[in-house]
Symmetry: C2
Subunit: 647 residues, 2 copies
Amino acid sequence: MTNIEENEGSTVIKQNADYHPPKSWRTWLIGRPLSTADAPHQTIGKVVGLAVFASDALSSSAYSTQEVLVVLALAGVGAFHYSIPIALAIVVLLAILTISYEQTIHAYTGGGGAYIVSRDNLGELPAQAAGAALLMDYILTVAVSISSGVAQIVSAYPDFYSYRVWIAAGFVLFIMLINLRGVKESGVTFAIPTYFFLITMSVTVIWGLFRYFTGGLGVVVNPPEIESLTALQPITFFLILKAFASGTTAVTGVEAISNGITAFKEPRSKNAGATLVWMAAILGTLLIGITFLSYQISAIPSEAETVFSQLARTIWDSRGIVYLVVISATTVILVMAANTAFADFPRLSALVGADGFLPRQLAFRGSRLVYSRGIGTLAIIAILLIIVFNASVTRLIPLYAIGVFLSFTLSQTGMAVRWWKSGKLGPDEKKVERGSTLVRDDHWLFKMVVNGAGAVTTAIVTVVFATTKFADGAWVIVVIIPLLIGAFYSIHIHYKGVAKKLSLDDFGAPPRIIRHRVIIPISGVHRGTMAALRYANTLSNDITAVFVEIDPLETQKLLEKWKIWGDGVRLVVLVSPYRLLFEPLIQYIESVTTQMQPNEIVTIVVPQFIPSKWWANALHTQTAWGLRLALMFKKGIVITDVPYQVD
Amino acid sequence: MTNIEENEGSTVIKQNADYHPPKSWRTWLIGRPLSTADAPHQTIGKVVGLAVFASDALSSSAYSTQEVLVVLALAGVGAFHYSIPIALAIVVLLAILTISYEQTIHAYTGGGGAYIVSRDNLGELPAQAAGAALLMDYILTVAVSISSGVAQIVSAYPDFYSYRVWIAAGFVLFIMLINLRGVKESGVTFAIPTYFFLITMSVTVIWGLFRYFTGGLGVVVNPPEIESLTALQPITFFLILKAFASGTTAVTGVEAISNGITAFKEPRSKNAGATLVWMAAILGTLLIGITFLSYQISAIPSEAETVFSQLARTIWDSRGIVYLVVISATTVILVMAANTAFADFPRLSALVGADGFLPRQLAFRGSRLVYSRGIGTLAIIAILLIIVFNASVTRLIPLYAIGVFLSFTLSQTGMAVRWWKSGKLGPDEKKVERGSTLVRDDHWLFKMVVNGAGAVTTAIVTVVFATTKFADGAWVIVVIIPLLIGAFYSIHIHYKGVAKKLSLDDFGAPPRIIRHRVIIPISGVHRGTMAALRYANTLSNDITAVFVEIDPLETQKLLEKWKIWGDGVRLVVLVSPYRLLFEPLIQYIESVTTQMQPNEIVTIVVPQFIPSKWWANALHTQTAWGLRLALMFKKGIVITDVPYQVD
């Protein structure tokens, strides 16, 4: 298709780029490039949606009980019975969040993550706070889930203990690849293991409960040793709060669905909302079941064997085939839980990038229609975290949930404010504010109370978490979030400044260029020089060749040749007593340019010699690159290198 | 001084570059820049010369005995008495070499290293073999001397054992800095410690001999444990040869002076020759003295404590202050011995570079009149070697001496050939061959025999070394030298090819450029685009702006703006269904250029936006750099980026 039209005096030719990407190693790795026109088809239904977005939340049932017990163990095994009320409290929290977010999903059909909701209803700063908190937590989701998955493997095969960091890094790279292929294929890839996990987990819990109530469930055989403590702490309210905080990591996955509504098939909100409710119900049931059974079998939290592994081998009586199936399913779901973050981090960073608070390149979709740069960034940082924290879930947990709960709070506050504003509108009134349309909702007061309650609850959890875990590592996050927000604003100020300075509003075009001078730095007279000279002749009549003299003998030779080949061009020889090449040249160029008028320009034409083999570049001085770097910030100077290819 | 003259039709302006290097951290680190006119003053006399060039040779007395004992220890301590005849054999070898090289120094007043002598008298291939062997051995000299110096420190302070690699690397960097300052200052810096070492070493040996002959010298108290062997080897001729080979490392420093004759004050040859004889005499004496005493006190070779440390504390009765002074002096001289290599490696690599067998940049003298790049290269490779070999002298030794003896052999053979040719000349005849002048020498036959004997001796040592040490690591060198020679020739062929292809001999100048087309890739219409358009207007009337469409909405906005600001310039919109930017653009440019005539050229004018802060570059897509890399090898395309600076 070529399409030529007149556009007020200038010809506009529109044509399809003939470019068809060739098959390459990238095709093999991430699939053939997808055309932009393919985009709308890449959506998913409820069944696949549960697999893609809920694996994070569901899988956390595999470590949340253990992290509660780790804290309670500080007061001795006698405190373990507190794990059951704590689990119930977490389920209540989950219920509040689910109701709250169900409302968000229906109000924000285009995707209602904390970032968008905060931006629309609370303003820029809360939005960036939510953005920073969420981005960080997506990274931590990857690190925690993968580390926990590897901990399951290590429970079953203790020989792998010393390789756990590298196994974890390998998993992150694997998920990265799957995500670079695109969301639809990854949805299918993830549906089977998610449902496999759901089935094995449910069967295990049901069988465990059946055995418990029929009296056939014993306690763990050969439990791992409890980490020896010098002195047991008394059981305090603070300790119970701290254990509760650890357990809240189970609900961190709730946000995922509301952030990813656009990935669902139409009707989006209905599908997404139903998926959310299903997810919460399953998660709550599993959490209570696992915590109850773990307490009954007297499981001991340990780095060597996960609580869940102890539970599985007690319910199934041995480390037999069923045990291995259950552990495998759990490992796989945990590894795949990281996929939720891989679905959301790139989407959110693209949003923040498009708003100009992160590099804009993050909003650029790659050849497979996914935000490839966000995916890559997430993988790299998550791997670094895993290495730094030695793939230990217990060491990562204190950093984990603050960000999530902070963004929950902001998001729910934003929703409450939104209902409040909607209540102020007339029956058929519409109000467009910060790009989102607000209509009156008849149940605004009820909905405001629901979201308000959600906001208060999550705000309390945020404070509890930050306080009880502060010394264990939460302080890092308390420091990093403001720093991140600061960085976001620096980037934003930069983009705004640039946009203003590049804007053509009140642009008084400078006069046309009348005087065009050309300077050619030469190192000798050869075919490369001649090519540059030939090119310079098309630019201007005012040409000066410049030679830096280090050895007077060289100058003599040069002058001889210049007589023959110089074509009458003026030659300046700069004597350099300190044998420096660049500095005298740059100083000369600067002395020429200092007194220029706005209608003058200087072009530096650099003969650049291109060897036929890349390694040969090391054998030649790269004058053009050096000059470019040195003169980049000077106005009125254009540097052109005229390549001379040798083949 | 500005000097304007007519040079057959073109004006030539010669002027002193006004550039005076500013004071900076480099000034503080390596001193103020030196003008080329300062060069001849940077020479040294005999006293300083001995310090600069002999420290390598003299310091090897500190480890050579130990390396002989390490080999003999394979046959048990009963074999240690062989160390004395071996030391005598080494001194005989030293004498032969000294006489041989004394002749070279007088025949080659301009510097007679193995490279030059081989090049003049044997041809290109032997010269490159000598060059490769010597360059490699200078690097090993640095690694071995520094490692041995650190071994002395570790003997005195065993706590430093685990830091030895980093201490060694620090020393290399320190010597690098001193050498970047220039030879004269480093001469003074090195004279004091060299003479301090000579005095302490001589006093120690004399006091030891005195105590021995008066019967007061005992054996080592608490010697280190001998490394336990599963089975002792019988004492064979091969083992003795191997021990001898280890000891020959003591004579490797002989070449240094003949290579560095130009650094001496006039009369150069006389001064250099005298320095050589003194050096050999001192070295021989020390070697025999140390070996004899080490045997008498029953010193045990060990990685934990050097033989020399055992000797010093036995002679001085304890690890007291005198012991520490002796060990310090030895450490310092060993560290400084590396300086010999730092004086010679850059000089030789500059020679080889000027001949076009190494990158020519190595022949470029830095602001302090030294070959800075050679100095840097040497430091980096030596540090890598130290890291790889864990700063162990015993592990480095098998790689060390082959190269030296190979170059000795080539050099002495070259001298013998030279005398033979000189003998064929008439009484006052002169012959210029490969740049060196040959005159008849009346004693040519005697001199030929002397150098011939040197060649045969060193050839035998080369073979002995390569054979006995082959399995211990010498094979590496046997592999690397041919590879290096191959690399040298690849570089040479490249330079020759380029020179031929750039040559203006039979250069039929192509027709003047008649058609000049300009393509401007744009990402939007803003001040940067306008700057590029304004510049493009000075180049040609045939201008095409190209926009790659990823989002049709963007195109609409662009077209609106283009109506106002496009200045009637033709606009091509390339629709990119796969959201790729570069590929369609490059394909378009290629389609334009494929049918060009020799009198046509295309300039790609890229608007390049220069943010005021360097980090902000990460926030903008760097189109110009990408295009440049992609189109570098295409003919008839010039890429110009027009910078637009925001401040």
